[in-house]
Structures are given as structure tokens and as C-alpha cells.
Amino acid sequence: MLLADFGTSYCKFLDLADPDGKPYLIATKELPRELRVGLATGHNARRFSDLYVNELTALARGGEELIDSADYVLLDCGSRDIKYVSYSRGKLVDMGWNSECGASMGFTIELLEKYYNLDYGELAVPDRTFSITCGVLGMSHIFDAVTSGISEAEAVARFVKGIAINAYRFCGSPEILYLSGGLCANPLFVGSLPCTVIPLGRFVLIKGLEKTAGQGLRIAL
């Protein structure tokens, strides 16, 4: 069975039929139109599969598999949205999904790196930040800052820190944050989160699908 997490910018796959199989990525814009998978999550999932698990459920199931703790907050920062689950004593106690006010944060971060020809691995975490609740609307802060004489790199770094702090507050400002999604590989973003961060990578939702498939858990159609 092929599992897939259909994200806005990248799709993640795992083939359960391959005993040595490892999860892999395909850029969303390069997906074959005729692709069909056995079990899917993500906002595009229904286009490619008859069996769908909603993203929050997949995230939660993935966290249950990957996190060796009964109390934790797991935040997934995607291209288009942010979502989290919070567990206490092994039970779900809170969750959230922001696809409106938190929209396009990951997408905007990637876009800015390319547009300004920056490398997030080389940017220091800035002392100051912008107050940002939306990736798209937040870009105006960058333009204003650059106009006032701040370097493009510093302005973008403040923007990224603003996004990180917004995401951190969104999930309840935990002392320890388990992070899921492509931004795990962005040192500026991870370093901007004002807490201990444990990055879990891009394949947490795939892990959740694996658990769903393996244990025959309820599948939402």
C-alpha cells in the first residue's frame, strides 16, 4: 500500500509493500496527474485516493508513534497552514488548525529565501522581530524595513522570527516543542522558537498514516 501526505509544496510518500522502503518527497507541482495511492492525508488527498485521514488525526497518530512522552505539544508547520496537538498523560487535550490567519507561512519563508537569494543556514537569529500573524500580510513589514534602511537579510530574519513566535503562541507556548514539517530543516526558524525544540522532520504525518494502516484505525472518508 502506498501512503501519501499531499502537501501544498511537497508530497511525502511511503510504500508499505517495500520492506526496505523509506519515505521520500516529490514536489507537488511534479506529481503525475494519474497517481493513485492507498491511503492519504493532506488537503489534496481526495484527488489521489479513496481513503483519506484528516491531517490532524494523521499528525496526532504520528506523534503517538514518534514521541516517547505522555505530555507533549506537537506542532506541524506546513507551507499553507499550521496545526498542533497537545497531549497530557497520553491523552489528547487540545488541538488547533490555523489555515486562515496563519496562512502561507512556510510557503512565504521559502519564497523569500529564493527571492532575496538568502541561505537560512547562514542567518543569525535576530534580537528583534516583527509582529506577524499571516505570511502574506507580514511581508509588508519586510518592505517597510528595507525602505527604512535595514538590510534585506535582517528584515527577512525578523520576519521569520515573527512567524516562529506566532506559531509558538498558537500552540500554547510550551517549554518543549516537538516540531513537524519542512521548517525542521530551517535553522533560523528553529532557532527563533523561544523554547526547547525537538525537530521530528517532514514525515510525521506519514508515520501517522502508517499507524492508521497497520492498526486498522478508523478512516475518515
Partner: protein, 255 residues
């Protein structure tokens, strides 16, 4: 004494007192619950009169009032509704040519809330409870025996009823909707009640004062999820409900 022409068309916002509803029934008035979507007109037609960022229920009420032919409106501006309704009544009085009558529902006589605890689709429950506002007839609780709850829904009737279809038939209803069925909309004690034994969604309309109570109670509940939604229920809102019920072990949730 309410003087009405035969077949008078009367709009209500919130829940007017039983005395008023009884009088309207006795006079043979046609009652329109303006809190519910009754017309297909664009919500944007309310923006000259109300901010876009405002309670979707009251925006809906104003939208209905603008587009329905009515003879008068009763609007509850007491503790059973909200301050927003008081201000909307001022707007309605200014823009409509019909009487807009403010009332305060502080009724204390409990009618009971059998539908809130019955086994029935949650959407149908809400349809029955909201329709019940237009009548003062006593309930027949023997028709609606209570079921063992698997989930709870606390809050007001949402602007978008579609989110109710995600819950199992064994969902018990709490909050202001329970007060609504009980015909005591200002009963704060009843409104604040919940069952800590079942996973419960604490819902309020975005920009409604009740968001504070919903969020507060959700933190007190061992398995509570705070949720707010504006005019329509988006995919992320639906997914939150769906995931919450699944992950809370509610096996009979609708998909």
C-alpha cells in the same frame, strides 16, 4: 397587549419571553426566526450597517430583516441574548419602517430539555430546538427518552448547521442551546453546565461574547475542545471536530 393584523409576519431575534410568543401564537402570527438563514441574499449587503467582523448570527438577523417583508420585530436585548443585540436593535430601528420592539427574556419557568439528551442526529436536534422557540406548547419528554452520551456539544446553535452532521446521534447538547430548549435563555447556571465524562466541543460564534465562556469551560473540561466559527464552517474546522472525536475514541462519529 400586542395588536396584530390577521396573518401578521413577525420576526424574532433571540428568544422573546414566553408571554410574547404565546400572544403571537394566539393572534395567529407567522413567526420568522431571524437568527437563522432565511434568505439567499449576500451577507455583504449588511456591511453598510454592521462591521464585517461581527457576530454572524446578528449579521444574519439583519440580513433577514432587510430582505423579508415583516410587520414587526421582537428582539431580546436582555441577559438571555447579548449587548450586540441591543446595538443591532438600534440599527434596525433606524433603517426599518416597522416597529422593532425590545424585550428582555428573564423567564425562569423551566420547560425541560428532553431533545438535548435524546438519541437523534445532532442536526435534527438543533432544528427541533430552534423551531421550538416559536411555540409555548409543553413538551412530551416521554417521546424523547435520554440516551447514554458518547459526546457533548456545548454552545449556541451555529450559523452553519453543517458542522453538526459530524457528531454521533448520542451527542448531548449543553450551553445556551439547552437554555433555549428549556425556555430560560438567561439561566447562566444551566448554560455553564457540562458532562465531564464525555468528550465535548465547546462552540461559540466568532466575535461573540460567549467565546470567553466557551474557552474557559473547555479548559475546565478534561476532554474539551474550544471551537469558534464565523459565517461558514471551513475545512479546518470540520477536520478539528472530526479529529477530536476520533482521537477521543468516539467510534460512531459521522464522517
Amino acid at each position: 397587549m400586542i395588536k396584530l393584523a390577521p396573518d401578521a409576519r413577525v420576526g424574532i431575534i433571540g428568544i422573546p419571553p414566553v408571554d410574547i410568543i404565546g400572544a403571537l401564537n394566539a393572534a395567529g402570527a407567522h413567526i420568522f426566526d431571524l437568527d437563522e438563514p432565511l434568505v439567499k441574499a449576500d451577507m455583504e449587503t449588511t456591511t453598510p450597517y454592521l462591521p464585517r467582523v461581527y457576530c454572524a448570527i446578528l449579521r444574519t438577523a439583519l440580513l433577514n430583516a432587510l430582505h423579508l417583508r415583516l410587520d414587526m420585530i421582537f428582539i431580546d436585548t436582555g441577559p438571555g441574548k447579548c449587548d450586540c443585540a441591543l446595538h443591532v436593535s438600534t440599527v434596525l430601528r433606524d433603517i426599518l419602517a416597522i416597529p422593532v420592539i425590545r424585550c428582555r427574556n428573564e423567564d425562569k419557568k423551566p420547560f425541560g430539555h428532553p431533545i438535548c439528551t435524546a438519541r437523534m442526529g445532532l442536526l435534527e436536534k438543533f432544528q427541533r430546538i430552534t423551531a421550538g422557540v416559536q411555540s409555548v406548547a409543553a413538551y412530551r419528554p416521554e417521546k424523547f427518552p435520554p440516551c447514554v452520551p458518547e459526546a457533548g456539544f456545548w454552545g449556541v446553535p451555529p450559523r452553519d448547521f453543517s458542522l453538526l452532521s459530524l457528531f454521533p446521534d448520542t451527542t448531548h447538547v449543553f450551553g445556551w442551546t439547552r437554555c433555549m430548549e428549556n425556555k430560560t435563555p438567561a439561566d447562566c447556571e444551566l448554560e455553564a453546565g457540562f458532562n465531564g465524562e464525555v468528550p465535548t466541543v465547546f462552540f461559540a460564534q466568532s466575535f461573540c461574547a460567549k467565546t470567553a465562556l466557551a474557552k474557559f469551560l473547555a479548559t475546565k473540561h478534561p476532554r474539551g475542545l474550544y471551537l469558534d466559527a464565523d459565517v461558514t464552517c471551513g475545512s479546518s474546522t470540520r477536520a478539528k471536530i472530526q479529529a477530536f472525536l476520533e482521537l477521543s475514541g468516539v467510534t460512531n462519529a459521522a464522517g
